[in-house]
């Protein structure tokens, strides 16, 4: 069997005929190999779930009790005639690349990944392969992430500025991954406790249980309704923007931590006071570097700005193509940028 047929796309998602399983399928199927717990990658309704041990508590939180099979990173298992193993993707706690080997060919599905250091999850591991299926969320050369420690310092300075104005500092970020990464980064930078929106609590508990060192947190709800949040950093999911929940803060500045904040227009359109560039995806240099390091002869891009990346790779003589993931089926706001 040629490597071209090791993974295909059909109406349910990415499918491995040799192993008769799907990777992060978007419709109910019998066997699903899951890269990580974000809602555009893991869904309810699958017969059996194959996932990492480190990511299991997150899947249990997100999907409830399901028929899970979990494996350590690097541990091989067999489905049909394919040999499968998970390898760290550096995206969020328990996130994985999926390595599939069949008939001497190796294909790696990256899932979402990043190359920046992240104190809240295992670092990305380069896996040599013949075919590399890479995400392309931020696949344009304008996306180049600053050093996370510098961004954390900017956040602390912003909170100080809010304190001087008697304002709360509300920072929107995704509840799974980004929030915990920020809390872990802040544990190195700042001493002040951080307050959490209710949607953040469970994820933070799971990370703490996994032994991730994060700054002290309190639930916003535990403070008196008229509690004074001036000068406090509050993490909230993006969906809290414009909601009645904000009323208790009276005077507040609002910021957003996301790779999209690289572009001023994105911040201004959302009417935010501040944007902080911090992403759990690979930026442009990391994408090119990773593609190169895998040694893959064939690259398939999926999720995001695939066209530009594929055109460039082809112009440079690399065999590259696109997997059309149905945008309609992805969650509209994508919860993990």
């Amino acid at each position: 069997m040629s490597d071209r047929e090791l993974i295909v796309v059909n109406k349910n998602g990415m499918y491995c005929p040799a192993g008769d399983f799907y990777i992060d399928p978007w419709a109910p199927v019998e066997r699903a190999v899951i890269t990580h717990g974000h809602s555009d990658h893991s869904r309810v309704g699958m017969g059996e779930y194959y996932a990492t041990r480190a990511g299991l508590p997150i899947l249990q939180w997100r999907l409830g009790e399901q028929n899970f099979h979990s494996y350590d990173y690097g541990e091989s298992f067999t489905l049909g005639s394919a040999i499968i193993s998970f390898h760290p993707a550096g995206h969020v706690l328990g996130s994985a690349q999926v390595r599939i080997e069949h008939d001497g060919h190796v294909c790696v599905v990256s899932g979402d990944y990043k190359r920046q250091p992240d104190p809240s999850c295992a670092p990305f591991e380069v896996i040599r392969c013949d075919t590399f299926i890479t995400e392309a969320t931020f696949a344009l050369p304008i996306y180049r992430w600053p050093d996370t420690a510098l961004v954390a310092r900017d956040i602390v300075a912003w909170v100080d500025e809010c304190k001087q104005n008697g304002e709360a500092a509300i920072l929107y970020c995704y509840a799974l991954g980004k929030a915990q990464r920020l809390l872990a980064e802040l544990a190195r930078t700042s001493a002040d406790a951080v307050y959490l929106h209710g949607a953040m609590l469970r994820g933070v508990d799971i990370y703490r249980a996994a032994g991730i060192d994060m700054i002290e947190t309190h639930a916003v709800i535990d403070e008196a309704r008229t509690g004074n949040f001036a000068g406090k950093l509050i993490l909230a999911p993006p969906s809290a923007a414009g909601s009645p929940w904000l009323r208790r803060f009276r005077k507040a500045q609002q910021g957003f931590a996301s790779g999209w904040m690289s572009i001023r227009g994105n911040r201004r359109r959302r009417n935010l006071d501040r944007g902080f560039v911090i992403s759990d995806h690979a930026d442009w240099p990391a994408l090119l570097r990773t593609i190169n390091e895998t040694g893959a002869k064939k690259i398939i891009a999926t999720h995001g700005n695939t066209d530009a990346l594929v055109r460039l790779l082809n112009e440079q003589g690399t065999n590259a193509s696109i997997f059309q993931t149905s945008n309609l089926l992805q969650t509209e706001s994508g919860e993990d940028d």
Binding site: P141, I142, P244, K251, S262, G265, N305, L312
Partner: protein, 533 residues
């Protein structure tokens, strides 16, 4: 240039004029004069790259950045499409400097590095600009690219900039505005002229700061004998200062804006005045009728330079003169009002300029009689009475004691809350901008927007109610259930073809929340329409 880049960032982040003002003052207070000159130039909309002074075209910048970031031109285009701003795209595509360079001043960048490269061949200009990119960090590179490509467009109004300068130089803003008029070069010599205290008032077109009346918050009888006071109608137009010096006429509005060329009627009449003088008065749209046109007619003239014959005939303007501040080069402001007014009357009588007339005295023998006269205000198209102490000097700003405005009580109406929107900036967590409607048959038609007048507790209570009673959303605007009635106050009602209701209310504000009324008891449009003029 670090400090200028920081200023740019602060200006860009702030939405409130006060924050912008504070940021500007913080920068200007400590900037060197030559940097300050360039900062003022750039913030005032000045450009570096012009047809005569070619630094880089947008095509060149695209090509240079493609080469420098080792990507094809089409990919630069793709990026530009995602970003929507070329200066920002170019900034994002360039690598951050690998080491820290010593800061160079804004002036050094512009005068020693950029401008000397102007009009040189492409490779020479390119070398200069790419070298600059290598040295500048993100925020500096961004402003650098911004002014390379055109103007900064950071949302600083001329007014805020002038206010900041006036405040750091401790000068009147009209003087700053005056000195920034016309062509000037961004040099430290220019900054020295800007801050020069000695020449205050010497310039031929410098205006005097306006003296403003305060609302009288007490019983009018407490002012003492009415014979000590001059009464005039409180005209509803634009306060205007007419300056005639050395055969040159200059018009200043109270917003510290020059109004030259907008009102030829006034300028023609001014040309008839026999001597240099400065007159304070009110600009009104006034045709042949007994009363002035409503303010909305004047509005059609305010921003129009060199109006055509049609405009001049449908909305002719007229100045009612209040005061004479200067005559024949002599500053009269320390003379009593009675003397100033006498000389003003003489001056106007000597030449009878058709579009400039004295604001007539309202003669009343007692406060009682004055109070009765005041009730005619609305039908006369005025806002009430002005009460000025006859012995008063012409002060500046709003100083209580000698000049009072005695407005008629506002009109009030009960209206229903129909739409709500969140406030801007720091108040954006709450719904604080409201639209109110009154009944027109079975329908509620919007008649006013109001932002203020409720207590903090009421705002919170109403916010909660709005969220629970939203019936429809149009973008940021929410339609709400027809339920709550508010008493609104306003200064007047004009007919308006621009509004669905056919009327426009002036200065609406919320007086109180009428918990005692239900929506059916709110007022009707025809009541308001009857008041419109």
């Amino acid at each position: 240039m670090q400090r200028f880049a920081q200023l740019y960032q602060r200006l860009e982040r702030s939405t409130a004029a006060n924050d912008k003002l504070a940021a500007l003052m913080a920068y200007l207070n400590t900037a060197e004069d030559n940097d300050m000159a360039w900062a003022i130039w750039l913030l005032n909309g000045g450009k570096l790259s012009t047809a005569k002074n070619k630094l880089a075209t947008t095509r060149e910048l695209r090509e240079w950045i493609a080469t420098e970031s080792h990507i094809p031109l089409w990919l630069v285009e793709e990026c530009y499409e995602q970003v929507g701003d070329l200066a920002e795209t170019v900034t994002l595509l360039f690598d951050e400097p690998t080491r820290k360079y010593a800061d160079r001043s804004l002036t050094e960048w512009i005068e020693n590095i950029l401008l000397p490269s102007a009009n040189r061949d492409e490779s020479a200009r390119r070398e200069v600009i790419v070298a600059a990119w290598r040295e500048l960090d993100f925020s500096q590179r961004f402003v650098f690219n911004k002014f390379l490509l055109g103007n900064l467009r950071v949302g600083v109004s001329r007014g805020v900039l002038q206010k900041a300068l006036a405040s750091i130089f401790d000068l009147d803003v009209s003087i700053i505005a005056q000195r920034m008029l016309g062509a000037w070069e961004p040099t430290s010599a220019f900054v020295a002229t800007l801050r020069d205290e000695s020449s205050t008032g010497m310039e031929t077109s410098a205006a005097y700061p306006f003296y403003l009346a305060s609302p009288i918050g007490k019983n009018i009888e407490t002012l003492g004998p009415i014979s000590d006071w001059l009464l005039e109608w409180k005209w509803d137009g634009i306060r205007l200062q007419l300056i005639l010096r050395e055969q040159q006429t200059v018009l200043w509005s109270r917003g510290e804006e020059r109004m030259d060329e907008r009102f030829p009627e006034i300028e023609n009449s001014a040309a008839m005045l026999p001597v240099d003088c400065v007159i304070d008065g009110e600009l009104l749209a006034w045709g042949d009728g007994d009363n002035p046109h409503p303010f909305s007619v004047l509005q059609t003239r305010i921003q129009r330079r060199k109006p055509g014959a049609k405009t001049l005939s449908t909305a002719p303007v007229h100045m009612l003169a209040y005061d004479l501040l200067e005559l024949n080069g002599e500053d009269l402001r320390q003379q009593p009002l009675s003397i100033r007014r006498e000389r003003l009357i003489e001056l106007l009588a000597s030449c009878n300029p058709p579009a400039i007339q004295i604001s007539p005295e309202v003669v009343a023998a007692s406060w009682q009689q004055a109070t009765e006269l005041r009730t005619q205000s609305r039908e006369r198209g005025v806002e009430g009475l002005m009460v000025k102490r006859r012995s008063s000097f012409y002060l500046h700003g709003r100083k209580r004691g000698d000049w009072w405005k005695w407005k008629v009580d506002p009109l009030t109406i009960d209206a229903v809350l129909i739409y709500a929107q969140s406030g801007s900036g720091r108040r954006s967590t709450l719904f604080t901008d409201y639209t109110f409607g009154v009944w027109d048959n079975e329908q509620l038609v919007p008649i006013a927007k109001a932002y203020s007048g409720l207590t903090d507790d009421e705002i919170l209570q109403l916010d909660r109610w709005i969220r629970a009673n939203t019936t429809e959303r149009f973008g940021p605007v929410r339609a709400v259930n027809v339920e709550h009635v508010f008493e609104l106050a306003f200064e007047g009602v004009n007919k308006s073809s621009r509004h669905k209701s056919g009327i426009a209310v002036r200065f609406p504000r919320i007086l109180r929340w009428r918990h005692d009324k239900n929506a059916a008891q709110a007022d009707h449009l025809k009541t308001l329409a009857a008041l419109a003029r």
